[in-house]
Amino acid sequence: MLSAEDLTIIRSRLGRDITPLEAVAFENLWSEHCSYRSTKALLRTLPTDGENVVIGPGDDAAIVRFTDTTALAIGMESHNHPSYVDPYDGAATGVGGIVRDIISMGARPIALMDPLCFGTLDSEKTRHLFEHVVSGIGDYGNCIGVPVVRGDLIFDESYQGNPLVNVVAVGVVDPDSVITGRVQKPGNRLVLYGSRTGRDGLGGASFASRDLSEDSEAEDRPSVQVGDPYTEKLLIEATMEMCATGKVLACRDLGAAGFAGASSEMSSTFGARIIADRVPLRETGMNEIEIMLAESQERMLAEVAPEDLAAIGAIAEKYDLSWADVGEVIAEPRYIVEFNEKIVCDLPIDLLVGGTPACRWETKPYSAEEPFRRPEEDIRTLCKKVLSHPECAAKDWVFSQYDHDVQLRTVSLGPDAGVLRLDGLALHFTCGCNPRHIYLRPREGTANAVLENASNLACYGADPLCIVDCLNFASPVHPEIAWQIEESILGMGEMCRRLNVPIVGGNVSLYNESDEFETRIKPTPMLGVIGKGDLRTFAPPQEGATLALIGRTEPDLGGSILDCVTGCGGPAPAVGSVETVQTVRDLVRNGGLAAVTDLSRGGLLTALAKIAPRSSVSIEGDPVVALFSESYARFLVVVDDRSILKGIPHTVLGTVGGDALRIRSGDEEVVLTPADLREASRTITDLMRID
């Protein structure tokens, strides 16, 4: 429902009462999901421009120059609320929506990333959500032939009633053929093509902008759309063919707020007159509100000159897609909808689109760090607990369900980033953030999330080209949450400026809290980062090579995986060193490292298990800190020649080789055999795979 305050503002601006369709249009377009009303002022503080940015935030997707002949279209979206109510369809349509954002720029989608957050896996409900979200993403992405090349998985009890499903999509387009989502000329026609419209997903944008109540699963099911990836594939090919004719002047996908959202946002440069009766329908007896607001999937809207209608329609028919001329661009800045030969909506377009009054929330800082309490278990037990935490364990149960090879660009999936070949160069994909650190220190934690993604890229000698984000938080009505949001966005901007990387798009998902579980999600400013560099391949490290650690280790155990498995508490990490990350990037570029990985969740231990599972190392000082601290800007490197590290602060740990991972600390030696590591890494597979 539209709030009383909003209704008063609208009535006083119009000088009249509003029609039922106008009320619903405002409710959806002025929702947080569409208008960013509570975060707009903060988002303006982020750096969004740069030498390679062609189109920044505001269109369906951003456009960033990769080479002179290739630009990238990049977008990121959340589909959190629908994925709780119906995990398979919610996740699948999340993929569909962001892919349409890419094609509406005239770009062919080439890759996806899927960072996901769930409750803890001991809950049957979580396992159910996890299984079906992964299937939904896989079945949709696989069918449309867009590879998933990277992801992130977080398991934390704060997501028990609010899983997060975020998707990054990237496409390629000739920089001279980019199509925007803004109409260009009065008199042009608006063509709706794709699936027919039914009563599905009514009011999804306003649904996404409130918290989930206990019986939301049953009550809200009509708000969740069902996807059809086959039609999406046809829509991709049809859109590519239409764009290639040069006859598509503007294009937008139908997402939140359906046809009303797409047509009003697309026409906001001029105005539009829509004939709702002309929309191809799947059901009979639909009224104007249902037609204009339904969120039926796989639909697009294009601006076409009147003389080109037949040519564009013929392409839609080639792909068995329905299409209709549903209205025209008008010079007056009004948004008019006709239905049954009556005007059912007539609004100043700038009031409906962009006229949302901003709201401010009271903020209140909090402090959640606890003093460190040393765990009682021995080091070997702690090692096995940390390695078998699902965030440190192998993810192949998930990844094998995604077609990551289609389109023949995928060079590697890890360990630190996905690597695609493009125009003879490497295009890198990394995503993630650490909500446990960000919860303890929202500003530093979010700055570190940016740095951590840059560290992943440094392992390939690459620099971040641009960032997209999904700002997932609980409800800003709580002053502590409003503070979290503010701190987090400020921290993100600070680190982006230091790294000179722009944030080019994304979305905001608030109200992620659950009455049913009495949970609020930990702050989750999820990042998707695209990198660019030279194509490099790494051979497995040779026996006898030296293992060394670059970067400073502090007793940062708060929010670590060790904290998750033992409740040890402790301080969260301070902001890591940008210089260290750049030093490692340069070392890789100069070809000096035989292998490298950055330290993140699970600290030095998981890094060793990842790239040096057969090696002997000695650690100095407190082994709990040395092995499990999650201080940022640290790298485990393998070098054949130690002189390469001269002048760079580092600690030599040991050598590659032997039959197991041997860690010596003082008089004690912990031995982790390949069988131990294999067993620890099987956590997700063992929990999820039932033969």
Binding site: C143, I144, K233, Y319, D320, Q401, Y402, L408, V411, D691
Partner: protein, 231 residues
């Protein structure tokens, strides 16, 4: 070699196959939209992977009933090479170009990962550049790739040496643990009676360049080109 790569609505490996034939192997390939039919003769026809008709009903079942498959069956009858990869294999099986069917994997999830294959036939136009028993690595990516065939037909396939590839371990042992989808006899590549049709679930086009992890699959296309140039 002039190749037609058939493009159904849900094909998604069509461009990949064209890339490998043209850019990697130096032969010619035309993308043919399924509604247009085959309007000229080709040396080879490739049914690429994907999700023709969204795999609704049964993978490949609807595509098998489109008019263009009539053209493909007629061409195969005249000796034209036909290679069905992944969804293309499912379409070919549904069209009766080879015996047996592909059904849902034993563990009923999509499975995308590299797989080792043992080459069982080295006489066909598709496999003549391999050596018998050679172990190769191709990626697989399917949910309905479990090959099923009755025992009597299997015996005939084996007798006629029409099994092209079986899943195996790194050393070439054909074992149950090396079988990713539960296929009968680990079979994942089958030839027609005249050996001019090969259907296979693994993707040779994804194993045609070292930078992508394996070049073992290139020999399939090179074999086809060599065969066509000789004949």
């Amino acid at each position: 070699m002039r190749t037609a790569v058939i493009q159904f609505g849900g094909s998604n490996c069509d461009r990949d196959v064209v890339h490998v034939i043209e850019e990697v192997c130096g032969a010619d390939a035309d993308l043919v939209w399924y509604k247009d039919g085959l309007n000229r003769s080709y040396d080879a026809i490739i049914l690429p992977g994907g999700f023709s008709y969204g795999d609704y009903l049964r993978a490949g079942a609807i595509a098998a009933r489109t008019p263009i498959m009539g053209d493909v069956i007629r061409a195969a009858g005249k000796g034209t090479l036909v290679l069905g990869i992944c969804n293309g294999a499912q379409i070919a099986a549904e069209s009766g170009l080879i015996p047996g069917v592909f059904t849902i994997n034993a563990y009923p999830k999509f499975l995308c990962r590299p797989a080792y294959l043992r080459v069982e036939n080295t006489t066909s136009p598709f496999t003549r550049l391999y050596s018998e028993g050679e172990v190769v690595m191709f990626p697989i990516a399917h949910k309905e790739g479990r090959y099923i065939i009755p025992a009597d037909e299997l015996a005939r396939l084996e007798k006629e040496k029409r099994i092209a590839f079986r899943f195996c371990d790194e050393s070439g042992n054909v074992t149950w643990t090396a079988n990713p989808n539960g296929a009968t006899g680990n079979i994942t590549g089958v030839l027609s009676e005249k050996e001019n049709v090969l259907v296979m679930m693994p993707h040779p086009e994804r194993a045609a360049e070292e930078i992508l992890g394996s070049a073992d699959g290139k020999k399939i296309f090179d074999s086809m080109i060599a065969y066509v140039e000789e004949s």
